[in-house]
């Protein structure tokens, strides 16, 4: 199908974008990569009065790492992030998630900010941001706002972004020492939306026990989230613990049901893929320890 007729607006600056958002509010759709929005527009699921194309706004595609972490502009292309040595070094979880995002032909145009604003429940970039406890920077005609990732995603395609706001950047916390990061997902075909995705950031002490754990799940419920599981601190970072953490999570999740997976099958995948991610994170933490 073809989209409805809309006004095309292409601001050159953030201020101009803000003017447009003030004018159109929820009647505007913001397009960056267009890989997700474009499909919805073509299917006429979304029928905006105005399409605001932010691709020409400068300085929204920077990657800046400092002691506190890395900030990626909303317009950083997924392919650029995938190739970036800085990201590989500073945000390894994202680097490990990115090969799973879409396909070669979509990553060249899709953006980090766009994926976060779109908020598909199984999307890898939101899951990575939530797992690391990062945040989303937003701007509106009224000013700027930074929202913790764990509060940003509300439901399927639904976020805390207000109608007159635009995602301008993502903040990724600095990597921690002695911490391993891993990303695993399972889909029916390579590159498909994940049925279940698991991300893990695990800090392991000198004694081989977990000192910090962030176990995130995507594609399970209607938004990515980190499992609340403080009871595993001080447990040994071994296979048995990985199984326990994943199984405990499988018990408490309330999985979505769709044509790909029943609730029980999603729980099973939480167990299997979750444990896989945790094991890989443990191994990565060990590798970090040896390298130090």
């Amino acid at each position: 199908m073809k989209p409805v007729a809309f006004e095309y607006c292409r601001p050159d600056t953030l201020d101009e974008a803000m003017e447009l958002l003030a004018e159109f509010g929820s009647d505007a759709s913001i397009v960056s990569g267009g890989l997700s929005l474009g499909a919805m527009l073509n299917m006429r699921l979304v029928r905006p009065k105005a399409l605001v194309d932010v691709n020409r706004i400068r300085d929204l595609d920077a990657i800046r790492t400092s002691a506190s972490g890395t900030e990626t502009g909303a317009m950083v292309r997924q392919a650029s992030a995938l190739k970036s040595r800085e990201i590989a070094e500073a945000v390894p979880l994202l680097a490990r998630a990115l090969p799973n995002v879409g396909h070669y032909q979509t990553r060249s145009r899709g953006t980090l900010g766009g994926s976060v604003a779109h908020a598909d429940p199984s999307a890898e970039i939101p899951l990575s941001l939530v797992t690391l406890g990062g945040s989303v920077k937003l701007r509106s005609p009224k000013g700027v706002r930074e929202v913790a990732a764990r509060e940003f995603f509300h439901g399927v395609l639904t976020t805390d972004r207000r109608a007159d706001e635009m995602v301008t950047g993502l903040v990724w916390p600095a990597r921690e020492p002695r911490t391993g990061y891993a990303f695993e997902e399972i889909a029916q075909r390579h590159g498909d939306f994940a049925i279940v995705a698991a991300a893990a950031a695990v800090t392991v002490g000198e004694d081989g026990n977990i000192t910090a754990l962030s176990f995130g799940l995507g594609g399970v419920e209607d938004r990515p989230f980190v499992v609340d599981n403080p009871e595993f601190i001080d447990h040994p970072a071994i296979a048995a613990t990985a199984q326990e953490i994943a199984s405990a999570a499988a018990e408490i999740v309330e999985p979505m049901v769709d044509i790909q997976a029943s609730a029980d099958y999603r729980r099973q995948l939480v167990r299997v893929i979750g444990a896989k991610a945790l094991m890989a994170a443990f191994a990565d933490a060990e590798a970090q320890r040896e390298a130090a």
Binding site: K2, F6, Y8, N42, L51, N55, H103, Y104, Q105, T106
Partner: protein
């Protein structure tokens, strides 16, 4: 700031396969449709219009990506490479096309243009890919006829391996 009203036909000037071209488009006109119906370049195909099948893939400003998810109005001043630009002016197939021909890498041809453009960009970025890398790149294309084997061989052959 550029603003184009919904029913306004905007003049779009861009470079296609090295040649300056112009056409007119309302905001909602997909680049794929603009290439085909305004510029009469029918080599780029429209399969699904939701970015999955890959038949519409072309190279836009140096990136192989979906033309069904781009609007012509976004491409004023852009450089586009389509399948029409692969062969010589006299019709001599380029190395990639020859490899496709020799390996039977196309049957009905509907997916072919998109795959050729993906492969063209891919080989520029990765001149000696492994078979696994070629297969991974191809995951963004659906082909009904070939079962992909001969396509993979053709791309590897074109890469000189």
């Amino acid at each position: 700031m550029l603003r184009i009203k919904p029913d306004q036909k905007q003049r779009i000037s861009l470079t296609v396969n090295g040649k300056a071209m112009t056409g007119y488009a309302e905001p909602r006109m997909l680049l794929a449709d603009f290439l085909r119906h305004e510029l009469r370049l029918y080599g780029t195909h429209v399969g699904c219009e939701h970015g999955v099948c890959g038949a519409c893939t072309a190279i836009i400003d140096g990136a192989a990506t979906r033309t069904c998810l781009r609007y012509a109005v976004q491409c004023d001043g852009s450089e586009i490479e389509t399948v029409e630009g692969l062969a010589d002016a006299d019709g001599t197939l380029n190395a990639l096309q020859k490899a496709f021909n020799e390996n039977g890498a196309l049957q009905c041809g509907f997916c072919t243009a998109g795959i050729l453009m993906s492969a063209t960009k891919f080989l520029e970025e990765n001149p000696t890919p492994t078979r696994a890398e070629v297969v991974d790149m191809l995951s963004g294309h659906i082909c009904r006829c070939t079962g992909y084997e001969q396509i993979v061989r053709a791309i590897l052959q074109a890469s000189g391996q």
